[in-house]
C-alpha cells in the first residue's frame, strides 16, 4: 500500500466535500470549546476551594483571668490533636494591634475599647476544615476558654456549593462531549453516504476493507484535529478573559480562582486528544456500515 495514495485520496476527499468537512470541523470546535471551558472552570473552582479551605481558621478565645495551668492544658491539647495542622497564640498586644488595624475606619469604636478589654486567643489551622465543628466542640466549655468562633454552617455551605458546582460542571461537560461525538458521527456518516458509489466500486474491484477505511479514518482524524485546535484557541481565550476579569475587577470571593498553566495544558491536551479520538472513531464506525460483506 502506498502512503502517497492515502495522502492524495484524503486531501482530495476533504476538498471535494469541503462544506461537509467544514461542518464537521466546526461541530468539533464548538462542542470541544464548551467542554474545554467547562473543564477549565471546574479546575478553577477546585483550586479556589482548596486554597480557601487552607485559610479556614478556628479561633479559640481565652478568658482574661485564665490560669497558667489552664493555658498549658489548652496548648498541650492543641499540640496533641492530629486534626490540627498548626496553631499560634496571639498575645494581647498583638490582638489589640489587629483590632485597631481592622477597625481603623471606625475611630470612635477603637478609642472606646481599652487594650485590656481585647481577648487573647489561639489561631488554629486545621488539616481538614470540614472538621472545624468537632474540634471546636472539644474546646468549647473547657476551663479558661471564653468562646470558640463557630462560623461552621458557613463553612459547610461553601463546601457544599463548591462540590455541587464542580459535579454539575463536569456533568455538563460530559453531556456536551457525548453530543459532540454523536454529531461528528452523523456528519461523517453523511459524508460517506455521499460517496457510497466510490465505496461500491472499490469493493467491486477487490479493495480490502482496511484499504477502503484508511482514507475515511484519516479524514475524520484531520477534521477532529482541526476542530480541536480551534477549540484549544477558544479555551486559551477563555482563560485569558477569566484571568483579566479577576485582576481588573478585583472580585474578592474569586481571589483563589487561579488558573495555572498546568491546568491549561491539561485541558488543552484533553481537548485535542478527545477531538482526534472522536473524529477517528466516528469515521471508522460510519464506514464500517458500508463494508459489511
Amino acid at each position: 500500500m502506498s502512503v502517497g495514495y492515502f495522502v492524495k485520496e484524503t486531501s482530495i476527499n476533504l476538498w471535494r466535500n469541503r462544506l461537509m468537512s467544514l461542518a464537521a470541523v466546526f461541530t468539533v470546535a464548538i462542542s470541544l470549546s464548551l467542554v474545554g471551558s467547562a473543564l477549565l472552570i471546574r479546575q478553577g473552582v477546585a483550586t479556589a476551594t482548596s486554597e480557601w479551605q487552607g485559610n479556614v481558621q478556628l479561633l479559640v478565645f481565652l478568658q482574661p483571668n485564665i490560669s497558667k495551668s489552664e493555658f498549658k492544658a489548652i496548648e498541650s491539647e492543641l499540640h496533641s490533636l492530629s486534626t490540627v495542622k498548626s496553631y499560634s497564640y496571639v498575645p494581647r498586644a498583638q490582638a489589640y494591634g489587629d483590632f485597631r488595624r481592622l477597625l481603623a475606619n471606625q475611630p470612635d469604636l477603637v478609642n472606646a475599647v481599652p487594650e485590656s478589654a481585647v481577648p487573647t486567643f489561639f489561631r488554629v489551622s486545621l488539616v481538614n476544615p470540614a472538621e472545624a465543628p468537632a474540634v471546636g466542640a472539644i474546646f468549647k466549655g473547657q476551663p479558661g476558654v471564653d468562646t470558640v468562633n463557630d462560623n461552621f454552617s458557613a463553612i459547610h455551605t461553601i463546601l457544599t456549593i463548591s462540590n455541587v458546582s464542580q459535579t454539575v460542571i463536569l456533568g455538563i461537560a460530559l453531556v456536551l462531549l457525548i453530543s459532540a461525538a454523536i454529531l461528528i458521527l452523523n456528519v461523517i456518516r453523511v459524508a460517506i453516504f455521499s460517496r457510497r458509489r466510490e465505496v461500491a466500486v472499490m469493493r467491486l474491484v477487490g479493495a480490502t476493507n482496511v484499504f477502503i477505511q484508511v482514507p475515511f479514518m484519516l479524514e475524520g482524524m484531520i477534521q477532529g484535529l482541526l476542530g480541536s485546535l480551534i477549540a484549544a484557541g477558544v479555551v486559551i481565550g477563555v482563560k485569558a478573559l477569566i484571568s483579566y476579569s479577576i485582576q481588573h475587577f478585583s472580585i474578592h470571593l474569586l481571589d483563589g480562582f487561579v488558573l495555572t498553566s498546568h491546568d491549561l495544558i491539561f485541558t488543552l491536551a484533553v481537548v485535542v486528544a478527545v477531538g482526534v479520538l472522536v473524529g477517528t472513531a466516528g469515521s471508522t464506525v460510519a464506514v464500517r456500515r458500508f463494508l459489511r460483506a
Binding site: M1, S2, G4, Y5, R16, R197, E198, A200, V201, M202, R203, L204, V205, G206, A207, T208, N209, F211, I212, A293
Partner: protein, 228 residues
Amino acid sequence: MIRFEDVSKSYSRGSSGVSDISFEIGRGEFVFLIGTSGSGKTTLVKLMNREIKPDTGSIWVAGKNLVTMPAWKVPYFRRNIGVIFQDFRLLPNKSVFQNVAFALEVIGKPRKYINEQVPQILKLVGLDGKSERYPDQLSGGEQQRVAIARAFVNRPLILLADEPTGNLDPETSWGVMNLLERINRTGTAVVMATHDAGIVDSMRRRVIEIDHGTLHRDQSRGIYGIGV
C-alpha cells in the same frame, strides 16, 4: 472455472431468487445467461461474485469455494473477477484514465505499473485519446468501454456482465459485443446475463436459460427462442 451445485437462494421480498441450479462453465467459455426480467439472472451474477451467499448448495469459482470463504478473503477473490453492469457504475468525478487506474490503485499496484497498463487497456477498448475526458462527456457505448477496461485491467480469469447492452442502442451494443468477444479470445471466460434476443441469436454461443428461478435450458450454440 464456475460450478454451481444445487444452488438455492430466496429473498423474503423484492429480488427474485433461484432454486436448485446446477451447471458448470469451463475455462475460456462464452456463456449467455438468458431469461425474462425477474427470472433470477442478476441473482446468479451476484452469487458468482460472492456479493451474496446461497441458502443451500455449493458454488466454486476460480478454484475457490464461495460458501466457506471467509469475508476477509473476498476482496482477494474479486481481483480474479471482472464485473460490468447495465448502468456502467463509473465514478463521475474521475477521468477515464483515473476510473481505470482506480481499480489498480485500490489493490495496491505501484504507480509505474499503473501508468503502463492503463493506456494499454484504453487502447484495447478503443478509447485512446479520450483518457482525460470525464464520464458525462462520453456516449453510453464509450462509458461501457471504460467499465470494461476497468474490469479487464487486472486480466481476470472471468468477466461477468450483467445486461451490459441494456442501456445501449443496437449499433453500439454490437461494438460492445465485439469487444467482449475479443476479451474472450484472450482466454477470459465471459458470462453475460441478457435478454437481448438479437445478440444471442447471432452469436450462437452456449445459452443457459433461467425461468422463474429454475434452470430451463442449457444448450451449446443456442439461440434466444426455443432450441434449434
